[in-house]
């Protein structure tokens, strides 16, 4: 067979496709009649699919903005009707349902969130970074794969299951070990949320460590560094922005966690600190910003505006919870944005 003959069957369909309306070979005339309809159908479905994909693409933006709009709209009347910034953020009295003296002060809630987040990071940072170092630097390929799957599994445990463990396992354990009055306290929630933050810290930190060029390791090893010296003298300094980002994302996770915290903190509005030694009381029950919203929103009546446009005092409870929501939104947004900028910073350096 000559090369030209071999080429012909291939080249003809290609010509058909590229030249619409061009001379079709005789054998194909029967299907040519359906051509325009099929083309129309094709271009329609093509356009539908493209616009669907486009919609999916922008939906994230739409959702974020609509959520922000909604939260803001619900909270806005509270901000408008004589909102006292100082009292809201610096009063410890959260008494939204009191008949005698209603008071909306979220300082104790901020402290609760702060205490849980701090304790969580005390647990999660050493644990998470240690695991990341082990996975990235010390273990073999098989152990690494197995561990990564397990860590992902850890991330997949629903938060209510974590809360359950906090109530049933961690609580009694804390009471037995420390002699605390109640097992549901800041320490309990801190440990639980810490463990929940580990997976995200591990995965980001591991990426950061593995992104450190091997040249650095070789250089340090050739100078006689031990493996541990390589880690803390070379890899930590080289990966520090990535590690910081990992910790920040862990913080974001801890601040935003709700269900496990609600179950493990005891949910009592209280500042877990005082002026006397030891100043910080991890064994106090606390309540956090998130847990307060979750537990009270169901009970807070959503009351519409009076004919003159003002709201009755009872309506403020519901609205104030949304203002807490705004505060949370701002906090987590700031933390995540910082982490993001830090990570971008590393990429630019390279």
């Amino acid at each position: 067979m000559k090369p030209e003959e071999a080429m012909r069957p291939d080249s003809q369909p290609a010509q058909d496709a590229s030249g619409p309306g061009g001379a079709a070979p005789p054998g194909r005339r029967r299907t040519a009649g359906r051509g325009p309809i099929r083309r129309l159908f094709h271009s329609l479905s093509e356009r539908t699919i493209v616009s669907l994909i486009y919609l999916c693409g922008i939906s994230a933006i739409v959702f974020v903005f609509s959520i922000f709009y909604f939260i803001f709209r619900e909270g806005a009347p509270f901000l408008r009707d004589g909102f006292d910034f100082q009292k809201f953020f610096f009063s410890i009295n959260w008494m939204p349902t009191s008949e005698v003296e209603r008071s909306y002060g979220i300082l104790a809630l901020i402290f609760g969130t702060g205490a849980v987040t701090l304790l969580a990071m005390v647990v999660a940072v050493p644990f998470g970074l240690g695991t990341a170092v082990f996975i990235a630097e010390f273990c073999g390929r098989r152990t690494r794969e197995a561990l990564k799957i397990l860590i992902e599994l850890l991330a997949a445990i629903p938060s209510v299951a974590w809360g359950f463990i906090g109530m049933v396992v961690m609580g009694p354990l804390i009471v037995r070990v420390t002699g605390a009055d109640v097992g549901a306290n800041a320490l309990n929630a801190g440990i639980i949320v810490g463990l929940m933050s580990v997976p995200i810290i591990v995965s980001i930190a591991e990426d950061a460590i593995r992104a450190v060029p091997d040249d650095y390791r070789a250089a340090a090893e050739a100078l006689g560094a031990t493996r541990w010296q390589v880690v803390y003298k070379v890899i930590f300094p080289a990966a520090k922005s990535g590690l910081l980002a990992a910790v920040l994302l862990g913080v974001g996770r801890a601040v935003g966690e709700t269900m496990a915290v609600l179950m493990a903190t005891g949910n009592a509005v209280n500042i877990p600190a005082d002026g006397r030694f030891p100043f910080f009381h991890a064994l106090d029950s606390v309540s956090t910003l998130t847990a307060t919203i979750a537990s009270e929103l169901g009970e807070a009546p959503r009351i519409g505006a009076l004919p003159d446009g003002s709201y009755p005092p009872a309506a403020h409870h519901y609205q104030s919870l949304f203002v807490i929501g705004i505060a949370l939104f701002v906090i987590t947004f700031a933390v995540n944005l910082t982490a993001d900028l830090v990570v971008k910073g590393i990429r630019k350096q390279r």
């Binding site: 650095y216 070789a218 250089a219 340090a220 090893e221 100078l223 006689g224 010296q229 070379v234 300094p237």
Partner: protein, 274 residues
């Protein structure tokens, strides 16, 4: 002051006494496998102390592997096996009781791509000292002195003395490579291994590094891998030609280039392959 300049200008006592070949690097029937692939086949060589020895040969001939065997850097890769012996300064470095840390302290290595650590210039130079010194063993003044001495030795001091705190990775490539040499010196190495130290540098920088090497002759035993035949000719005293994991010829550079004993060496240096 006088003692330090004197000791850096003259060969060190350890090397002066080491006229015999067994004070250099001695390999006896040394083979190395990467998994199932044998990269070095029965290499026996006696590299003389206080001289610059160039390892030449076509890509994949095992010259870098041989170089990396001298400070056991090959052990970073999984599945590496060796047989035979390597003796450096009279000690079998493959013996189980040899401390890898001590070995790498006295056998320094410079890599193909300049790889200063992402720290300041100052911290790069004292990195080795701090690794081996333990906490607070050197006072600040001693450290500073060591840094100045090392940077002067590589002709870098005048260029960087006012910005020792700057990041080393922001230096020019030539300066980075010089810094990589400088950071080995405070550890007082006997042997310096260089894996194509000029391949990432331009012609001018290459000349500067070669000049530096020339000045370091006799104070250190230097082994340099190079792809650049002209460079081997310029800087080395001795030359080892390798092919497919075997040592083909080893002799004084002038002799090997002008009058090679082996036909394969002759073909290679004439540019018929490689």
């Amino acid at each position: 002051m006088t003692t330090s300049t004197a000791s850096s200008a003259e060969p060190r006592p350890g090397l002066a006494a080491a006229a015999s070949a067994d004070r250099g690097i001695l390999t006896r029937d040394f083979s190395l496998w990467y998994g199932g692939f044998q990269a070095l086949i029965g290499v026996s060589a006696s590299i003389r102390p206080g001289r610059i020895t160039a390892l030449i040969g076509p890509s994949g001939c095992g010259k870098t592997t041989l170089l990396r065997s001298f400070n056991r850097m090959n052990e970073r890769f999984p599945g590496v096996r060796t047989s035979g012996q390597i003796t450096i300064m009279g000690q079998n470095i493959l013996a189980p009781e040899v401390s890898l840390i001590e070995l790498r302290k006295s056998v320094g290595m410079v890599f193909q791509r300049p790889n200063p650590l992402p720290l300041s210039i100052y911290d790069n130079v004292v990195f080795g000292l701090r690794l081996h010194g333990g906490a607070g063993s050197l006072c600040r003044a001693e450290e500073k002195l060591a840094v100045e001495k090392a940077l002067r030795e590589v002709f870098l001091w005048d260029a960087v003395k006012d910005r020792l705190g700057a990041r080393a990775t922001e230096l020019q490539l030539e300066q980075q490579q010089k810094l990589c040499i400088a950071r080995l010196l405070p550890l007082r190495p006997e042997v310096l291994l260089m894996d194509e130290p000029c391949s990432a540098l331009d012609a001018e920088a290459t000349a500067a590094v070669e000049e530096l090497l020339d000045g370091m002759r006799r104070r250190y035993t230097i082994v340099i891998v190079t792809h650049n035949m002209a460079q081997a000719r310029r800087v080395s005293d001795d030359c080892i030609y390798m092919l497919s994991g075997r040592l083909v010829e080893h002799g004084p550079t002038a002799e090997l280039f002008i009058n090679p004993r082996d036909r394969r060496t002759e073909e290679y240096i004439e540019g018929r392959y490689g």
